[in-house]
């Protein structure tokens, strides 16, 4: 899966000193191990605690016991968490590199607003009630708004501020619409208020099946873009001088981010902050090389998302706290800490 990542040092970039590469590679293995642990915890912990033995039994020798049913339910939730987490982290990393803006995240670029507006439209005007029905609307909304922001933000001469302004403007208009519908249609409010906080609790195998193709395409696209995005990081002129195709890279990056984030939002509602925070954290460890940032983000984002989901299940037992709420409450302070630590934060 890690298409474009080292270990082999490439010809045109100087290889990192072997020790640093070893540390990074080791860090990646440790991250994967942590991810496996968190995933197991996600299956074991909940309203009904399961022992590891039961988890094992449920995973590999399904024989229809109560424990096995719980496991299979939690399994789809965990798998969705893995996929969505990875998608959010990757799309955040790609968007931040694309806009050269450490603040870029799907929320700031209006993708969440697009998905939300589309879902409320589906509920109110098309009478869609099932979650699997929302998915397509959410995805279409995210894609349309993503494209719109990209073009309004000045497809060629886009600057971080322009993109952020375009995202804010579209969000403003769409949230106005969203609120109008929610005020006039109480049934829509009843559904939307749970959808907009972002949750993994409604995961089913069919949801996973619906979003999986988009996530797969988006992931491959994002990982392939690591090298051109590295070149872009040094400014348009330098990138051009290095032989990168600016227009193509921008369009593909935006497409990858929209696929990933649109599918993730469609599956579990707008989950904030994972896409903003994880690339930040990863960068402080790996440095600016996208070939390391992307794999790390892919692994660590689901750690945060699943971890937040587990915490959300633990703190409010037997009910649960939606994962979107937990990620923001955990992520916000970390983000503020990061902002404060920098000498001068640049936008």
């Amino acid at each position: 899966m890690l298409v474009d990542s080292p270990p082999e040092p490439s010809a045109e970039t100087a290889p990192a000193p072997p020790t640093r590469r070893a540390i990074r590679a080791a860090g990646l293995f440790v991250s994967v191990a942590v991810l496996v642990l968190v995933a197991l915890a996600s299956i074991a912990i909940g309203a009904k605690e399961l022992s590891l033995e039961q988890v094992w039994h449920g995973l590999f020798e399904d024989s229809g016991t109560y424990g096995d049913v719980v496991v299979s339910e939690r399994l789809s939730r965990t798998v969705l968490g893995l996929l969505v987490g990875a998608a959010l982290g990757l799309s955040g990393a790609v968007l931040q590199a694309l806009t050269r803006n450490p603040l870029a995240d799907p929320g700031l670029l209006g993708i969440n607003a697009g998905a939300s507006a589309a879902v409320v439209t589906a509920i109110t005007f098309f009478g869609v009630t099932s979650l699997s029905g929302y998915v397509w609307f959410a995805f279409a909304g995210a894609a349309v708004v993503g494209a719109l922001v990209y073009f309004l933000g000045g497809s060629r001469g886009s600057t971080p501020v322009r993109l952020a302004l375009a995202g804010t403007a579209i969000s403003a208009a769409l949230y106005g619409y969203l609120q109008a519908v929610m005020i006039m249609d109480e049934a829509a409010l009843g559904k939307m208020r749970f959808w907009t906080v972002g949750s993994l609790s409604s995961a089913t195998d069919s949801t996973i099946g619906q979003v999986l193709p988009f996530l797969a395409i988006g992931t491959v696209l994002a990982l392939v873009l690591a090298r051109p995005l590295n070149a872009m990081a040094m400014g348009d002129d330098t990138a051009r001088a290095l032989g990168a195709h600016l227009g193509r890279t921008r369009a593909l990056s935006m497409a990858a981010a929209t696929l990933l984030c649109g599918a993730a939002t469609a599956a579990c509602g707008p989950i904030m902050f994972v896409g903003l925070m994880i690339p930040h954290l990863v960068r402080s460890f790996t440095g600016p090389d996208m070939r390391w940032i992307l794999p790390y983000a892919t692994v660590l984002s689901p750690v945060l998302l699943l971890g937040a989901d587990v915490i959300g299940r633990l703190v409010a037992r037997p009910a649960e706290l939606q994962v979107g709420i937990v990620t923001a409450i955990l992520g916000g302070p970390v983000f503020i800490f990061l902002v404060r630590r920098r000498r001068t934060a640049q936008l």
Binding site: V161, A169, Q179, A180, G190, Q322, I325, A328, I329, F335
Partner: protein
């Protein structure tokens, strides 16, 4: 006193000086163009002088006329329409008893709250944008709106509080958030970008808290919360007018008195220091004023969307003047809110749709239009 130079140097110096004197003379003859300084200066005896930017002055006057006209029309609008002439007559104290009750007790306070909230949000937004040196640095983005909302939602959801309690909760929430953001962003002074970034972080946390509170609520409270969160002028009366009016009466002169220092801050902290502005003090004072204005306005009408973001930007485009454009932004905010209230009542019937919906849509569409035209002009 001259620097030591050798003979050749002197010659060189004299030559260049002669050239420069000639050039200077030529430049002096060519008078400094009249357009160089904006506006007219009114001078009085005793060294008093006040500068007035004519275009900005005109814009402010027109906005005031528009706001007052819209107010009169708005007072006349409703289930029981009153012609504009009767509205004016009633306001001047010559109306009949029935109209007097409707105008003075029901509709006038609502319009006044709209005007004051709009003005406060416009001024607060202009201050935040100027201090953060960022057109996105509005109270909505910095988390103040979310803070007020959190305070109000606690009252609505956890205590099923009365309207007054909700307003109080919003006020406390807004002020506490403003304080928290300032403290968190403080690190040997408050840097503009750090303020915005910390604000975004705080906003995200509070949004999550608000989302949680709404999922906890029963559907009736949730509906009430959503209406409050949108921003609404329904059922506002004199009890909301007086506190806002007093606050504005104190803060607006204070802010305008410090506006010149704020203009200097636009050029960077160093330049402002060099010009003798006490940078941190000015900034803190204006931030406190902006937080108070925004929190009070939000307490009175809910976090009316995007007025604080768009009013200063619109005002700036109309006056075409650099600087924070505080007075135009204030008038623009008031006009925007009253017109939006009128539009929502006309389009959807009385009290159907809260004013915040319309300001959100208007603001968003305006910003998009702005981006599209500025994209053509090649400027951001």
């Amino acid at each position: 006193m001259k620097a030591p130079r050798n003979q050749a140097g002197h010659h060189h110096l004299e030559r260049t000086q002669a050239e420069r004197v000639e050039r200077d003379q030529a430049e002096r003859d060519q008078a400094v163009p009249a357009r160089a300084f904006r506006g007219r200066t009114v001078r009085a005896g005793g060294g008093l002088s006040v500068r007035v930017d004519i275009r900005a002055f005109t814009v402010v006057a027109l906005l005031l006329v528009a706001a007052l006209t819209a107010s009169v029309v708005l007072i006349g609008t409703g289930d029981f329409p009153i012609p504009a002439t009767d509205v004016l007559k009633t306001l001047l104290g010559n109306g009949d008893a029935g109209q007097e009750f409707i105008v003075n007790e029901l509709r006038l306070p609502r319009v006044l709250v709209g005007l004051l909230v709009g003005a406060s949000l416009g001024l607060g937004g202009a201050l935040f944008q100027a201090i953060s040196r960022n057109p996105l640095g509005s109270p909505d983005v910095l988390g103040l709106g979310q803070g007020s909302t959190a305070g109000a939602l606690v009252m609505i959801v956890l205590f099923s509080g009365s309207a007054t309690q909700v307003a109080l909760g919003a006020l406390i929430g807004g002020l506490a958030t403003g304080f928290a953001i300032y403290v968190l962003a403080w690190k040997q002074g408050v840097h503009g970008y750090r303020l915005v970034l910390v604000g975004i972080g705080v906003a995200a946390i509070l949004t999550a808290v608000n989302g949680y509170l709404i999922t906890k609520a029963d559907l009736v409270d949730a509906a009430r919360a959503v209406v409050w969160m949108t921003g609404s002028l329904n059922g506002r009366d004199w009890a909301q007018v007086w506190p806002l009016l007093i606050l504005c009466a104190v803060l607006v002169p204070l802010v305008l008195g410090n506006a010149r220092g704020l203009r200097m801050l636009e050029m960077g902290d160093d330049v402002a220091y060099a010009l003798g502005v006490r940078v941190e003090r000015t900034r803190l004072l204006l931030l406190v004023a902006a937080v108070l204005l925004t929190a009070a306005a939000t307490a009175a009408a809910g976090p009316v969307g995007f007025v604080a973001l768009t009013a200063p930007q619109l005002a700036r485009r109309l006056t075409r003047s650099p600087g924070p454009n505080l007075v135009p932004a204030m008038c623009m905010g008031a006009t925007l809110l009253v017109v939006a209230d009128w539009a929502s009542q006309r389009a959807f019937g009385a009290d159907q749709l809260p004013v915040g919906v319309v300001t959100g849509v208007l603001g968003g569409v305006y910003l998009l239009w702005l981006l599209a035209t500025e994209r053509k002009a090649g400027r951001i």
